[in-house]
Symmetry: C2
C-alpha cells in the first residue's frame, strides 16, 4: 500500500511519479548543512552519482546544486566556454535553442546544426561542421523532452574524438539520466548535466551533473574568470570535493531534504544492476510505442532508432484537440503533457514512462495510461482508419 | 505531539527547525509544474509574499526560484547593475565580501564601506560616500549571519532618497525576512532578496525575492542583456507574472514540493499579525541576550541597537574552544553554529532563534538551549569571573 493519497498518475516527461520512501525523505527533520550527519549523507550521494553515470575515473567530478536542470546549461556555458569560443549545438528541438541562448549570454558563439522536427543531425553533417571550424564544445540533447528524439552518443563520441579530439563533448541528459544507458567513461563524455525530477526519481530542485577530468582542466585553464557567480565552478568545485571527502564546507546552503531524497532514490536505483533498469525502460517504451502504432498514431520521432525509452511524443489525429483530450485523460487518472515544440505544440502530446511507473511492479501506471489513451481518444471522437 | 522523530533542536542561523505541517508538505505527491492545481498553489504563494514583505504596490514583483539565498545576489548583480556601474556595498561581515565578488563577476564595480567587526557603517560615512560618486545601487545586509549585526533600514532609506534618489536600495534579507520587521513600501526599498530556510521557515532550496516597480523598470531599461541566463529576469519575469495570474508557464521546472512547503509556511505566518511575530522574535532575542550577559559573555554586535532579533553571535571565553563546546551542546540536544567571519571564526559561536523555535509555544527549544549553554560552558571549564 502506498503512503501517498490517491492521485492521478503523473506521466509527463518530468516531474515523474516518486517512490514513497523518496517522498518521505523530503520530510526529514532539519539538520545543519555543515553537521557531520548531513555532510556524510551528501558525500555518499555524490559518490553514488559516479556509479549512476558509470564513471570510475577519480578525476571525474559530480556536482549537485540547488536549482533546476536549466542551471546545468549555465554551469557549462559560464565555466567551460570563454567569450568568443565557438560552440556546436546539435538541435533536436526546444532545448537546443535555449542552450544556445545560454551560451550567448556568457559571450560564446553557438552554431546550431538543425534537423527536421522528429529527427536529429546525422554524423556526416556533424563531421562536416567539425571540419569547417574549431569548436571548443559540442553539445547534444540526449533525449529532447520536446520531441522524444533520442540522440546516439557512442558513435558521436567516436566521431568527435577522430575529427576534433580537443572538442569537449557535453550531453544535456536532463531527460535521459536514469532512463537511458549512459557510459560516461567508456563513451569518453566530458560533461552530462541533468536534473533530479526525471529518470533519477527525486523531486525537482536539484541540478545534477558530472564532468570529466579533461573538462575540469579546461575550466582550470581559463584565461577569463567564470561568467556566473551562482554557477561558478570556482565557487562549487572545492565544496563538492570537501563534501565527498566528508568535510564540512560552505559556499551556499544546500537543501538537506532534497539531498536526502536524492540519496534514497540513488540507493534504490543502485540496488539493482543498471543494465536491468535500462532494459525495463526499453520494454515499457516498446509497449507504449506498440500501443501508439496499434492506435494508428504516429510519433514525432519517426525513425525507431531515434526514439527515447523514457518518453513518447505522439501526434494527435487531425480532429482531436489537446485541450479536449488531456482533461479527458485526467478524469481517467492519468496526466500527460501537451506539446512543447513551438512550431507544432498544438498537434501532439507527450507521455512520460520513467522511474517507478515502469520499475515498480506494484504499479500499473503504464497499462492504465495506455488504456486511458485508447478510451479517451474514442470518447473525443477518434476512430482508427 | 510532533510527527518528527526526536532530534537535536537545530538552533543555527539557518536552516532552522521546521513545523510538522511544513515538513509534511515536502512529501506532497508528484504534480505537473504546469497543471492547474500546482499553478494555483504557486500563484497563491507569490501573492502571499507581497503580504510578508508588506507591499501593496501592484508594480512590486516577487520571484521564487529553485536555488539558494546566494542566487539572489546574481538576480541583483546580473539584472539591475550593468557592466561599469558603480555599486556601494555596506559591509558588516562575510556576506558583503561575497556580494561584492558577485557584482565583479557581472562587470560592475563594487565599493565596500567597511565597519569594524560587530558594527555597521554609520549614516554620515554613507552620506559622504554617496556624495563622492554616483552609485547605481546600494546594498545592505539586513542581518549579517556571520556577525549577528542588524542594519537599520528606515533611516538608511531616508538618507539614500535625500542624497542620491536614483540609487536603488537593495537589502540582503537572507537572515532577516520573517524574523525582522521589513516594510517594503513604507521604507521605499527597491529589492529584498532572501532564502526559504531561515525566518520564513521552509526547507532550503528556494531563492525568494521582492523587487520594486522602479527596480523592474531599471531592469527593463538596460542597455546590455542580463549577465546571467539562469538568473535572468528576462527569463523569469513573465513566468512569475503568469503563475501569479494562475496561467501555466515554463522557463525552468520549479520544485512543487518546496513550493507547497513554502505555501504552508506562509499561510501559517500570515494567519497572525506580522507585528506579533516580530514582537515574539524580539522577546526571545532579549531573553537570549540577557542570558548571554548574565553568563558574563559578550556579543559580536556590541551596540544593542545593532543586534539582530533572530540570532546572537557570542564571543567564547578565552579558555573555551568551539570544537569542545559544540559537541557538548549537541549531546544536550541543541545544535549551535561555529563562527563564520574569517578573521575571528575560532573565537565565537552563533545561536539562531527564529521561526517555530520561538513562535510555537509547545516548543521549549530556546529555554533548553540557554540551559545547555550554561551547563555546557561550566562543564568545559568556564566559570563566570
Amino acid at each position: 500500500m502506498s503512503s501517498q493519497p490517491p492521485h492521478p498518475a503523473l506521466l509527463i516527461p518530468g516531474p515523474i511519479e516518486f517512490d514513497d520512501a523518496v517522498l518521505q525523505s523530503m520530510s526529514h527533520y532539519s539538520e545543519s548543512h555543515v553537521g557531520p550527519a548531513f555532510v556524510s549523507t551528501f558525500g555518499d550521494t555524490l559518490s553514488m552519482l559516479r556509479k549512476l553515470f558509470q564513471t570510475s575515473h577519480a578525476s571525474s567530478q559530480p556536482f549537485v546544486i540547488s536549482g533546476s536542470g536549466t542551471l546545468g546549461w549555465d554551469l557549462v556555458a559560464a565555466n567551460l566556454a570563454e567569450p568568443g569560443d565557438d560552440v556546436l549545438v546539435l538541435h533536436t528541438g526546444y532545448f537546443a535553442d535555449s542552450f544556445a541562448d545560454c551560451f550567448e549570454t556568457y559571450g560564446s558563439r553557438p552554431t546550431q546544426l538543425k534537423a527536421p522536427i522528429g529527427s536529429r543531425p546525422q554524423l556526416p553533417e556533424i563531421e562536416k561542421a567539425l571540419k569547417e571550424k574549431k569548436y571548443k564544445l559540442l553539445t547534444v540533447t540526449h533525449v529532447d523532452t520536446s520531441t522524444g528524439v533520442l540522440s546516439e552518443l557512442k558513435g558521436l563520441s567516436e566521431l568527435v574524438r577522430r575529427v576534433s579530439p580537443e572538442t569537449l563533448l557535453i550531453v544535456d541528459g536532463v531527460c535521459s539520466v536514469g532512463s537511458e544507458e549512459i557510459e560516461f567513461d567508456k563513451w569518453q563524455l566530458d560533461g552530462v548535466i541533468t536534473a533530479s525530477q526525471k529518470g533519477i526519481g527525486c523531486p525537482a530542485g536539484l541540478s545534477i551533473s558530472m564532468f570529466s577530468g579533461r573538462a575540469i582542466e579546461t575550466f582550470k585553464n581559463r584565461k577569463t574568470p567564470p561568467g556566473s557567480y551562482f554557477a561558478s565552478m570556482k565557487n562549487w568545485l572545492p565544496i563538492m570535493q570537501n563534501y565527498e571527502a566528508k568535510k564540512p564546507s560552505y559556499f551556499a546552503t544546500p537543501s538537506p531534504q532534497l539531498i536526502h531524497a536524492l540519496n534514497t532514490s540513488l540507493t534504490q536505483i543502485l540496488s539493482k544492476p543498471l543494465s536491468e533498469r535500462f532494459a525495463i525502460h526499453r520494454e515499457a517504451s516498446q509497449k507504449v510505442k506498440k500501443a501508439v502504432t496499434d492506435l494508428g498514431l504516429r510519433q514525432l520521432a519517426s525513425d525507431s532508432a531515434d526514439q527515447a525509452n523514457g518518453m513518447t511524443a505522439i501526434y494527435l489525429p487531425e480532429n482531436v484537440k489537446v485541450p479536449e483530450l488531456l482533461p479527458n485523460l485526467f478524469k481517467k487518472g492519468v496526466v500527460f503533457a501537451g506539446g512543447l515544440h513551438k512550431d507544432i505544440a498544438a498537434k501532439y502530446i507527450r507521455f512520460g514512462h520513467m522511474g517507478v511507473s515502469v520499475t515498480d511492479s506494484n504499479r500499473d501506471d503504464i497499462d492504465r495510461a495506455i488504456k486511458a489513451l485508447e478510451t479517451g481518444l474514442s470518447e473525443v471522437g477518434y476512430q482508427k482508419a
